[in-house]
């Protein structure tokens, strides 16, 4: 127990937790976007069945799993704030008067690397808003329900249609997903480095893989608001439903 405490309270240990929770969140994003992509079919039953299926498949584990996910988010966010605000300030209380300039080369000093707390903060704000708009309203508001195979389920499809009818909301969602991409661009590589799983010869490949993951995930998420806003499903699948 004391060894664990020693690991977790060291500067290196906190970064282990940042890395592991970051990987957990990437895993969540992959399953989330896979579920979202059922919206592409334009058939409300697909996403609604997926959402209802989550509850029935996980059964009694559904709420514990949701709480664990919230815990993962909170862990990642609180540690990030602690490291970036408290520890960073403590380590250099007297700042440089002339802004620091990156030397290039091997350095990842730049938009993605230097602004993790800003892109992350925006994502955190978005997650709260997003959970409020879609998850909590379907749990407690139950304004929109529909019948699926003779059972009453939340009509997630209709929420999405109404949400993305607004060009402002659509633009906001798309913008936030660009920030997600920027966050992951540095985050994936950084997590592997934090765990010490980096070899010099892999570094470039892993940094490249981070870019691929960032682009694939951000694109997969951001096409949906655009798709819904312009009702591309009815154009692509005209007459099939």
């Amino acid at each position: 127990m004391s060894a664990l405490k020693k690991i977790l309270f060291s500067s290196i240990g906190k970064k282990y937790i940042m890395a592991i929770s970051g990987f957990g969140l990437i895993g969540f994003l992959v399953t989330h976007v896979a579920g979202n992509l059922t919206l592409l079919s334009g058939n409300p039953d697909h996403i609604n069945a997926y959402a209802a299926g989550l509850k029935t498949t996980l059964g009694p584990l559904f709420y514990p799993a949701e709480f664990a996910l919230v815990g993962l988010f909170l862990l990642h966010i609180f540690l990030a704030i602690y490291i970036n605000v408290v520890e960073k300030k403590a380590a250099r209380p007297d700042r440089y008067r002339k802004p620091q300039k990156g030397k290039g080369g091997p350095s990842k000093f730049g938009i993605a690397g230097s602004n993790m707390i800003i892109t992350g903060g925006l994502l955190g704000f978005f997650v709260v808003l997003h959970v409020w708009q879609i998850r909590l309203s379907s749990e407690f508001g139950s304004k929109y329900t529909t019948m699926l195979n003779g059972k009453e389920v939340a009509d997630i499809y209709r929420y999405c249609v109404e949400l993305f009818a607004s060009p402002l909301t659509t633009a906001f969602y798309v913008g936030v997903m660009v920030f997600l991409g920027i966050h992951l661009r540095h985050g994936f590589w950084s997590a592997i480095q934090s765990l010490g799983a980096m070899k010099p010869e892999w570094s470039k490949a892993i940094y490249g893989l981070g870019l691929v993951i960032a682009i694939v995930l951000a694109t997969a998420f951001l096409i949906l608001p655009i798709y819904m806003h312009f009702d591309l499903a009815s154009k692509l699948f005209a007459g099939s439903h």
Partner: protein, 251 residues
């Protein structure tokens, strides 16, 4: 051999607790002068006018001792890569350019005066590293311990660290991870340093935290600022060894 004119903004601070501020100077100097020769020249100019010279650290002036170091135009050791500030030359700068000179800033590196900072925190980390087991007796035969070429090169690359502190100065979090990582990799990869590998890692990492250095930012600016170009793979090595040492894989 042309002369160049520069406007300098130099950080002046009388003592550790004094309020510091920038002081402006104009200087004309041969473009092939080194950065520290330029400061020497400036100090003569200041002393001729009866002022207090600018204090800065230097010793070998050939980039191997690790004594010198300041932040020039927002970059530790100046804009050039893989040089200490003593290896920086005035030809790097444009005629008429304004050059800002600040000390390394970190809580663990308190300012002594002007550009001089106290880097004893590095010594204390190093002391925590302790000893390396060496069998006594007659001098062993050369090559009696076989070490692979790649491994010996990796350890040597880490061993080139001169302990100047530029990694701390360049890190947005003022982390000493590159310095500590380089020391740990240097000894950890060698069979002579293997018996104490775990203990050394735990003690040096805890001392690094106790000295008030920040957490590693994973930005890698330290590698770019390092006069020896030590790779942040040394930091990955430290993180891996710290985990293994805590789990009891290394003694």
């Amino acid at each position: 051999m042309a002369n160049k004119n520069f406007k300098l903004e130099v950080w002046r601070q009388d003592g550790p607790n004094a309020q510091g501020n920038f002081e402006s100077f104009d200087i004309e100097i041969n473009e092939h002068a080194s950065f520290l020769e330029m400061l020497d020249h400036l100090n003569e100019q200041i002393m001729n006018e009866g002022g207090r010279p600018i204090e800065f650290d230097s010793d070998c002036r050939e980039g191997i001792c690790g004594s010198c170091g300041c932040v020039v135009n927002g970059a530790a050791h100046g804009p050039e890569r893989e040089t200490a500030v003593c290896q920086l030359h005035m030809r790097t700068f444009q005629n008429g350019e304004t050059i800002t000179i600040e000390p390394f800033r970190a809580k663990a590196f308190p300012i002594v005066r002007d550009l001089v900072v106290d880097r004893e925190a590095f010594d204390r980390i190093q002391e925590k590293g302790g000893y390396v087991s060496v069998n006594t007796g007659p001098k062993p035969d050369a090559n009696s311990i076989k070490i692979g070429k790649e491994r010996s090169d990796e350890a040597f690359d880490a061993a080139t660290c001169i302990g100047c502190g530029a990694c701390v100065a360049a890190c947005p979090n003022a982390s000493a991870s590159l310095f500590v990582g380089a020391r740990l990799k240097h000894f950890g990869l060698m069979p002579q340093g293997a018996p104490e590998r775990g203990r050394r890692t735990l003690r040096m990492v805890h001392q690094m935290d106790d000295e008030g250095f920040g957490p590693c930012s994973n930005i890698g600016e330290c590698e770019a600022a390092c006069p020896k170009g030590i790779s942040i793979s040394a930091i990955a090595h430290m993180k891996r060894d710290f985990l293994f040492a805590n789990l009891g894989f290394h003694k």
